[in-house]
């Protein structure tokens, strides 16, 4: 007998036992039984979580499945015909729209604000804390995630629920293009993907040609100004800057380094680059910075060498190319002054007529 029972842990009054009549005991027994049953079913339901339930699958015709390796190296089984897609990242939502597959997009995150009509899609919460219940209720046959934004735990949870999840991991502009092409193939939009990516590549090549003779500008990319957060060398933003004829003064392996202002004063960047969907807000921030100690000893601040570009540059999606072009135009206006008309014409002729979605996206300079 456990020690605490033998040592008078409880004072068991004999009367309490005797006082109970049979009716009461019966009620109590029933209550105890009901409680036990509830707990038992709950425990069973819980334990079942570990095992898949193949019984339900039989009444649905088994769709053809393709097995692919996603960009994080996971083996994923995805239906041949993807009909219902949920995107867990703004960049992926943009990519789906750019591929013209928005009709099959049945769920997006709270932060998917581009194109504006994406905000009308059913929401599943934030990318880091998606509401799994809402996600399941949307009956997706493919959930798209991206390694830099979503959590591994989310992917594991979706895996356990038997929902196909494909993860992208673009780390450069080239990676974004390759990722877009793969995604297009995955959802059965190979042709649209080819056209879209070819158009983007052509624009990047044209940009490279135009900027070839112009030395790179040394810029400080301001992710956040208080505290000052910039970008590391391994981010796709740094890669995007390089393509726009710019070079980040912050050179670190950390992805989002917090820079000391004195370090920036020492580095003296040529330009400050802000990414924002509200240009006037960035202008106001910049005006506020001009009067601050430290900031006002920056040559770029004194000379008002400020570039505000679309926040599309923050997202590894096809719109990134437009943001790169925009940045290049502002940093190297002389390179574009020569003959801006011919470039647009060339762009038009290069695009096949049938890919309307890709054309709309490809030729839009920046969606602000």
């Amino acid at each position: 007998m456990p020690r605490f029972f033998s040592r008078g842990f409880f004072i068991v009054k004999k009367t309490t036992g005797r006082k109970l009549n049979h009716r009461k005991q019966g009620f109590r027994g029933a209550l105890a039984l009901a409680l036990q049953l509830t707990l038992l079913t709950a425990a069973q339901a819980w334990a079942q979580g570990a095992t898949p339930q193949p019984a339900q699958k039989t009444d649905v015709p088994i769709p053809a499945v393709q097995e692919v390796t996603d960009e994080t190296g996971r083996q994923v089984k995805i239906p041949q015909a993807v009909r219902r897609i949920v995107s867990l990242a703004p960049s992926l939502t943009e990519t789906i729209y750019a591929l013209g597959a928005q009709d099959r997009l049945v769920g997006v995150t709270d932060y998917c604000d581009y194109p504006p009509e994406a905000q009308l899609k059913p929401k599943i919460g934030g990318p880091i804390n998606p509401n799994l219940e809402q996600l399941v209720a949307l009956k997706p046959d493919l959930v798209l995630v991206t390694k830099s934004l979503n959590r591994r735990e989310t992917v594991e949870a979706l895996e356990r629920l038997g929902i196909a999840t494909y993860a992208t991991d673009p780390r450069t502009v080239e990676g974004m293009l390759a990722s877009t092409a793969r995604l297009a193939e995955l959802i059965g939009a190979r042709e649209q993907g080819k056209t879209l990516v070819a158009g983007l590549r052509a624009r990047l090549a044209e940009l490279k040609r135009l900027l070839a003779t112009h030395p790179a500008r040394r810029v400080l990319f301001v992710v956040w100004h208080e505290p000052l957060i910039s970008i590391g060398r391994d981010t796709f933003l740094a890669a995007a800057l390089r393509l726009a004829g710019a070079e980040s003064v912050a050179d670190t392996t950390q992805d989002w380094p917090r820079l000391a202002l004195e370090e920036v004063v020492r580095l003296q960047p040529d330009y400050l680059v802000f990414a924002s969907s509200h240009a006037d807000e960035s202008e106001r921030n910049f005006e506020a910075l001009r009067s601050r100690p430290g900031w006002r000893s920056l040559e770029a601040v004194r000379q008002r060498r400020l570039v505000v570009i679309s926040d599309a540059v923050n997202r590894p999606s096809p719109r990134l190319v437009a943001a790169i072009e925009e940045l290049a135009r502002q940093l190297h206006p002389e390179a574009f002054d020569a003959k801006p008309e011919t470039r647009d014409e060339k762009n038009e002729t290069r695009q096949p007529k049938k890919a309307t979605a890709a054309k709309r996206w490809g030729s839009r300079p920046c969606g602000r």
Binding site: P2, R3, F4, R7, G8, F9, F10, I11, V12, K13, T16, L31, L35, T38, T41, A42, A45, W46, A47, Q48, G49, A50, Q53, Q56, D110, K123, I124, G125, G126, I128, N129, N131, L132, E133, Q134, V136, A137, K139, K147, S148, L149, R151, R152, E153, T154, E156, A157, R160, L161, Q254, D255, R258
Partner: protein, 339 residues
């Protein structure tokens, strides 16, 4: 102190169990996707009778794979934190002791984060590291909190607060330098979060650990009552003080480690629930521990239901809900006691 009878214990616990059941039903019903409890019960009945269930697959997934597991996880986390809080309050003879206030949660979180950085795919590493972190922290706080061989309540709290802020700083350091790309998820987890379903292997570890540690603390309940009168007095009454303290110390650290490793640092539950139960049912530890377990379960399930529904489909961290609701209630209790 009124003598405790089995009858009285069962009666009080069954009241709380009924409340818990009601809260569970409420939690099952409310959420981003509306669920009809009658439909679920009818379908369960059909399955029990050997018929085919008629719920759609999505419905079934939401109820049995997401919502119910989350409710059960909330029950266990709440019970673990409350029992740990009650244990620490007795062990340190300090009414303000709580895994969160004493820095034990931060220690467990640091252990968990270290294990996630070192070996992200070993399943048992996280709870064990969290347990080690919790144990080391409470040991450090205990020794820092002594003055001239006596446990001083003020010094102890200060030691806990210092330990908590030091450990939080180390966590911040690790998250900005080492963890790299996974740090956003960790930051969310640190705030206290039940949204990530527990991997199947962890479920049984959690259940067994919770039951064993609670039973261990419960077996010392009679001694803890005597300990409340003072260490010397308890010793004269035949309490084996070192043994009792060791049992409570290991078990409460274990409970904190378990809770933190699955749900991050959820504050105030371990502090508030035992106090509330004391106000309702008295200070007898033999009654306080089971009622705290049930009360903690009720609190977390309620808080998590709120966290899920206030701005649905977006979820709030449950830790934010408990702190928001817990701090004012605590101040109210404190003022009422002072009057």
């Amino acid at each position: 102190m009124r003598p405790l009878t089995v009858h009285r214990l069962l009666w009080k616990c069954s009241i709380l169990a009924v409340v818990l059941l009601a809260v569970m039903l409420l939690a099952l019903k409310l959420g981003a996707v509306p669920i009809s409890v009658t439909d679920v019960l009818l379908d369960l009945g059909r399955v029990v009778l050997g018929q085919r269930g008629q719920l759609s697959t999505e419905y079934r997934l939401i109820v049995f794979e997401l919502r119910l597991p989350r409710i059960l996880l909330g029950i266990m986390v709440g019970a673990a934190l409350s029992v740990a809080g009650a244990g620490f309050q007795a062990l340190l003879r300090n009414p303000l002791a709580d895994p969160y206030v004493l820095g034990v949660s931060s220690g467990a979180a640091l252990g968990a984060i270290l294990s996630l950085i070192a070996s992200p795919h070993v399943p048992l590493a996280t709870p064990l590291a969290a347990f080690a972190g919790a144990g080391l922290t409470i040991a450090a706080v205990y020794f820092l909190g002594r003055r001239e061989g006596q446990l001083d309540s003020g010094t102890l709290l200060l030691a806990g607060i210092i330990a908590a802020s030091f450990l939080s700083a180390v966590i911040m350091f690790l998250m900005t330098t080492l963890a790299g790309r996974d740090s956003r998820g960790m930051a969310f987890w640190l705030m206290g979060d039940l949204s990530t379903p527990l991997p199947p292997g962890m479920r049984w570890i959690f259940v067994v650990g919770l039951l064993a540690a609670t039973a261990a603390i419960y077996s010392t309940a009679a001694d803890l009552n005597l300990l409340l009168t003072g260490e010397r007095e308890a010793m004269h009454l035949g309490v084996h003080i070192t043994r009792v303290k060791l049992v409570v110390y290991i078990a409460a650290s274990g409970l904190t480690g378990l809770a933190v490793s699955v749900s991050g640092a959820i504050g105030y539950v371990g502090l508030l629930v035992p106090h509330l139960m004391r106000l309702l049912f008295g200070t007898d530890y033999r009654l306080l521990i089971p009622t705290s377990a049930l009360g903690g379960a009720i609190t977390i399930v309620l808080a998590d239901t709120l966290a899920r529904t206030v701005v649905a489909p977006t979820e709030l961290p449950v830790g934010a809900m408990t702190a928001m609701a817990g701090a004012p209630v605590f101040i109210y209790l404190l003022r009422r006691r002072l009057r």
